[in-house]
Amino acid sequence: MGAHGHDHGHHEESFISKYVFSQDHKMISKQFLITAIFMGVIAVMLSIFFRLQLGWPGEKFALLNTFLGDKWAPDGILDKNAYLAMVTIHGTIMVFFVLTGGLSGTFANLLIPLQIGARDMASGFLNMLSYWFFLFSSIIMVASLFVEGGAASGGWTVYPPLSALPQAMPGSGTGMTLWLISMVLFVVSSLLGGLNYIVTIINLRTKGMKMTRMPLTMWAILVTAILGVLSFPVLVSCVVLLVMDRTMGTAFYLSDIFIQGEALDVTGGSPILFQHLFWFLGHPEVYIVLLPALGISSEVIATNSRKPIFGYKAMVGSILAIGFLSFIVWGHHMYVTGMNPFIGSVFVFTTLLIAIPSAVKAFNYITTLWKGNIKFTPAMMFSVGLVSTFVTGGLTGIILADSALDVNVHDTYFVVAHFHIVMGMSAIFGMLAGVYHWFPKMFGKMLNSKLGYAHFWLTMICGFGVFFPMHFVGIAGAPRRYYDYSEFEYLNAVLDLNPMISIFAIIGGSAQILFLINFFHSIFYGQAATQNPWNSNTLEWTTPVKHIHGNWPGALPEVHRWAYDYSNPEHEEDFVPQIVPLKAGEHSH
């Protein structure tokens, strides 16, 4: 096996097989990351466009017209349909392409073989396919913005009948068709990736890498992949039935509809069925987005606090508990759909249970900081930020989980505030923490830390500046996905927050330019990385800085201890890599 790996190291590859159709997990992870960054830039730009309309409704922005043209922004005012399309595609891109494909695709691919001590993924070919499906799906999604009628516009949850009937809104025509095609390709990508992640983690761990010695990133990614493999197929069935309703005259989701002067020949279907299927994926999806971010932060916080992660077993247990519970809470998205109130009660119960493992995680992070010796690398800044967003956003989930309270805040800005903080900000922070932490491993170069700090603080301040005030807009009763609120007198009291929110959004969005400059500049001109820049214990830092196919020259490393022997009093150094054998009589964790 060792000799085999060595051969790989010397294997010369053509440009195409190295950079384009690569089957090397490290290259695929870079492909995922850079694609996700492009998608992220598009999604952020869309959000700035619609925030201009929300902050200053009816105001003419010549710049909008320059960017979007006369069709979408006549006279510099965003068109109503374009507004809905942008809201929809912003959500879709962020949830699926940046925080699912981007986050899992990047870090599962990069870290799984490196942290468990494998030459590569179980199937390099499937892994490559996973990326290409992801890329095609991304291209189709972006292309859908430019078709006649515009992109899908019914919100990222695409509830039928709105999404099923082209006559219901322009975006439900070709744009919606492309959305559905893109989603199916995306799910294929996720499944190919997810199966690969699971198989690799279960089967390809190096000698000594017991499950209980895996870094928490691995646990998080494993559970994430299992959630994906179990829930994404349900999204496919959900989407396929919608495709059939749209094109073959079936009526799975449609009944008793009269639209545009015509009584449709549909009876017996249920729009609510779609929501059940959608949220059966949709809620685990929240944790598919969140768990990898939490896993990354566990790693970054332990490393930079120079302390073991507190309560490793409890952390693993809570990841498992969250993963399990995430499958039986989907109904909390549907309290006001007319669902039987008793079933609603059951979902209240299961949903609020999730608060317990989440609280365990939050307190364990904080205890990890306690009496630590904290180095504030940019990655650490984002990880500490993540703990704050996770707690702050998670708490408002308690209100939304409570069906009696949800009645009055359902589909308002309170929801927007809640999930952008707990899921959006936390997951983005986890992703950025991962980029700052593992950039040396990915590109062999260091990122500029000063730009990293500037990027972090602007993002943190603007992120809270955008989303925190939205809680108050929401409890004042402002519905989400409204193009204009100025006609609602009862909202006047809170609407003066809107321009401020938009300003924070513009600054926060622009601050990402700092990251982009840092990222692309450092790939080429950054300081060359050393082997183990953060003095970390995990296996990836024992591989050479310059990537080789097969990861380790010579034999695979052997693991002797857990990943968290930081500041172990039995050792001189404040870190003990996993490959260091136990001393005589040393207790293994």
Binding site: D256, P341, T367, L369
Partner: protein, 439 residues
């Protein structure tokens, strides 16, 4: 102006990139490594956490102070208990929010890196972990129980003396229907919706006239088909694939991508045949309707005294109202924030929500010192371009005023020509027939 902004952005990016280069050079000169966080940087960031914490907490308190009184007091009976539950929840989460963020940010500052110190090797502590499993567990138990008691009260069956009002949604407005003196809603069916019957209320005469309307349309379409066929002889055959799943799917996915073979005439006849089939199915669905009785009254007769209103609807104070929601086209959501009430309206599935208004519009205006204040019903589920403008005014009256207002509203049976409805049966049929004639 645009050019200047774009130039500024480009210049700013170039400036940052140049600064980065200068920084890279100076770093090389100083021989410092990027991963070695300088004590100055570490201290700066550690202190920044605490400064951030104060700013964050102060802004939070400011927002609570200025915007915490979000809505006027609840104008419905159940809303009072919702508000009580809400404030208890907000208190609890606010306390936890401050404590946890305080610990996080102060630890971040307090335990910043010190080369002379080694971190405490503290791997786990079962008692501590049990503590922060149990505390959230107990708090959740409390929230669940309290929440569910409130939920059950809200969603329990309406009392026997509750009055019913139907709220009917469509892109992009609301209609309210009152059951009239007989207290029974007339049956409604989407197949009967038309210019004079926006809600599709079922009456024997309505069925009759709709059937006649459909028959006429079918005759017209048949005549058009005959005409085209005669003119084009036997060249035209039935479009073989008119109902083929594959072609429908392909055409649905990519319109005009696979143009069907043959002349436009073939397509035209096929379209007419599809139209004929659609009309036949429509007629069949109406034939399938069956007559039900409620309280000894036929629901095909109960609709004539139903009162239908648009723009604003009234409800009497102190009277429990059970709303029955129906939707014509897509899912909408009936949201009345001042009453803490919301329920989706779902095509094909009536939904319900009950509430008892406690404060009349006049009283609320006085309380708020705002003569123009009105309760509002708005749509809270994205439903199309004008979603943001789909609203209806709710007026809570004294029972006397309510009775007076209600008596003024026209009944369905008495006013077939009103109320004007924008639904407008604008089918393409008129056009196709003209085309057929010209053909």
């Amino acid at each position: 102006m645009n050019l200047i902004i774009v130039l500024l952005v480009v210049l700013a990016i170039i400036a940052i990139a140049q600064l980065t280069k200068v920084y890279d050079l100076s770093r090389t000169l100083r021989n410092s490594r990027e991963e070695e966080i300088t004590p100055a940087d570490n201290r700066l960031n550690a202190n920044a956490w605490v400064i951030w914490m104060y700013v964050f907490f102060a802004s939070t308190l400011y927002l609570y102070g200025k915007y915490g009184d979000y809505l006027p007091e609840s104008a419905s009976e159940h809303g009072v208990s919702v508000d009580r539950l809400m404030s208890i929840n907000i208190w609890m989460i606010t306390i936890v929010f401050f404590i946890v963020n305080y610990l996080l940010f102060t630890f971040a500052k307090k335990y910043q890196y010190n080369p002379g110190r080694k971190a405490k090797f503290f791997t786990h502590d079962n008692r501590l972990e049990m503590l922060w499993t149990l505390i959230p567990g107990v708090s959740m138990a409390f929230i669940i129980v309290y929440g569910l008691i409130t939920w059950n009260n809200i969603t329990g069956p309406a009392s026997a003396d509750a009055m019913q009002i139907e709220l009917y949604s469509k892109q992009f407005d609301w209609t309210a229907r009152y059951p009239g003196d007989n207290k029974v809603f007339g049956a409604a069916d989407f197949n009967l919706i038309g210019t004079t019957n926006g809600l599709g209320i079922v009456t024997k005469e309505g069925i009759q006239s709709k059937m006649e309307e459909l028959d006429t349309e079918m005759e017209n379409v048949k005549a058009a088909i005959e005409l085209v066929k005669k003119e084009n002889g036997n060249l035209i055959q039935h479009r073989q694939h008119s109902n083929s799943i594959l072609s429908n799917m392909l055409n649905g996915l990519m319109p005009n991508f696979f143009p069907s073979e043959g002349s436009a005439t073939v397509d035209y006849v096929a379209a007419l045949e599809d139209e004929l089939y659609r009309l036949q199915r429509h007629k069949q669905r109406i034939l399938d309707l069956s007559e039900n009785e409620l309280n000894g009254l036929s629901q095909w007769e109960a609709g004539n005294d139903d009162r239908i209103v648009k723009g604003e609807f009234h409800i009497p104070v102190g009277q429990e109202v059970e709303f029955v929601f129906r939707s014509q086209d897509v899912i909408h959501s009936a949201y009345m924030p001042h009453f803490r009430a919301q329920m989706n309206t779902v095509p094909g599935m009536p939904t319900r929500f009950k509430m008892k208004p406690t404060i009349t519009t006049a009283e609320m205006r006085k309380k708020m010192g705002n003569d123009k204040f009105d309760y509002i019903l708005l749509c809270n589920k994205v439903c199309g371009a004008a979603h943001f403008n789909m609203k209806m005014t709710v007026i809570v009256d004294t029972p006397e005023d309510y009775a007076v207002w209600l008596a003024q509203q026209k009944t369905f049976g008495g006013s077939k020509e009103a109320p004007s409805d924008s639904t407008g049966v604008e089918t393409p049929k008129a056009d196709t027939l003209t085309m057929a004639a010209n053909h």
